[in-house]
């Protein structure tokens, strides 16, 4: 009987939980690359040059917004990902 008890005490099980968590896919809009800045043409007028500069600033703000969104997306998704215990 002692032998059986010993076998019982020594028997154990090890199992890996068959559940996997996937890191989420980023939205399509965040994956768009920034557009290149517009160059000014030769013999350009003051108003045209100003417009080019304004368009480039607009492009910068759009791209900066995307970079901010990326940071926010990563921080929040990482936080959610690490919530799983």
């Amino acid at each position: 009987m002692k032998k059986y008890l010993l076998i019982l005490l020594l028997s154990g099980c090890s199992t890996v939980v068959p559940v996997a968590q996937k890191f989420p896919q980023a939205p399509e809009i965040l994956q768009q690359p920034c557009k290149p800045l517009k160059p000014a043409e030769a013999n350009i007028s003051l108003s045209q040059l100003t417009k080019t500069v304004v368009e480039n600033y607009t492009e910068y703000h759009q791209c900066s917004g995307l970079a901010d969104a990326w940071r926010e997306w990563y921080t929040q998704q990482k936080k959610l990902f690490e919530e799983l215990k």
């Binding site: 009987m1 059986y4 076998i7 019982l8 028997s11 099980c13 199992t15 939980v17 068959p18 559940v19 968590q21 989420p24 980023a26 939205p27 809009i29 965040l30 800045l37 517009k38 160059p39 000014a40 043409e41 030769a42 013999n43 350009i44 007028s45 003051l46 108003s47 040059l49 100003t50 417009k51 080019t52 500069v53 304004v54 368009e55 480039n56 600033y57 607009t58 703000h61 759009q62 917004g65 995307l66 969104a69 926010e72 997306w73 929040q76 998704q77 959610l80 990902f81 919530e83 799983l84 215990k85």
Partner: protein, 135 residues
């Protein structure tokens, strides 16, 4: 354990108690033939019943853990989708704001800056400096 899928859970505690009863019977009934054999069978039943009851308990614990994790993952996936939607909305709103802002400034340029086009010529060096910086 594949065996657990085909047998009801109560069978293993029943096997355990059957082993105990069989062992007590072999001890109390003195005229029982082959008492040693029945005692060995009783010990085997007790061992098997205990082992399988433990296995069921272990299996149930893991199944519970799997279900908990799956539920948690599905909740987190919903939260993640909500976060995506919020961020995409924010990006689109900002994009629209800057586009409108740019359009307004361009309207201002067309209205006010054009007045200086004739009097203020842009030197080629300014254009080159701008283009170098924009590259």
């Amino acid at each position: 354990m594949w065996l657990l899928q085909y047998l009801p859970n109560w069978i293993f505690p029943a096997v355990f108690f059957a082993g105990i009863i069989l062992y007590l019977v072999t001890k109390t009934i003195s005229f029982l033939p082959q008492a040693k054999l029945f005692q060995a069978i009783a010990a085997a039943l007790v061992f098997f019943g205990t082992y399988m009851t433990g296995a069921i308990s272990n299996n149930d614990t893991w199944l519970k853990r799997v279900n908990e994790l799956q539920l948690q993952i599905s909740k987190l996936e919903t939260k993640s989708q909500e976060t995506n939607t919020k961020i995409v909305t924010k990006v689109l709103t900002k994009r629209e704001y800057y586009r409108e802002q740019g359009t307004e400034v361009i309207k201002y340029v067309d209205r006010e800056i054009v007045k200086y086009d004739e009097s203020c010529k842009i030197p080629q060096e300014v254009v080159e400096a701008h283009n170098k910086a924009a590259k």
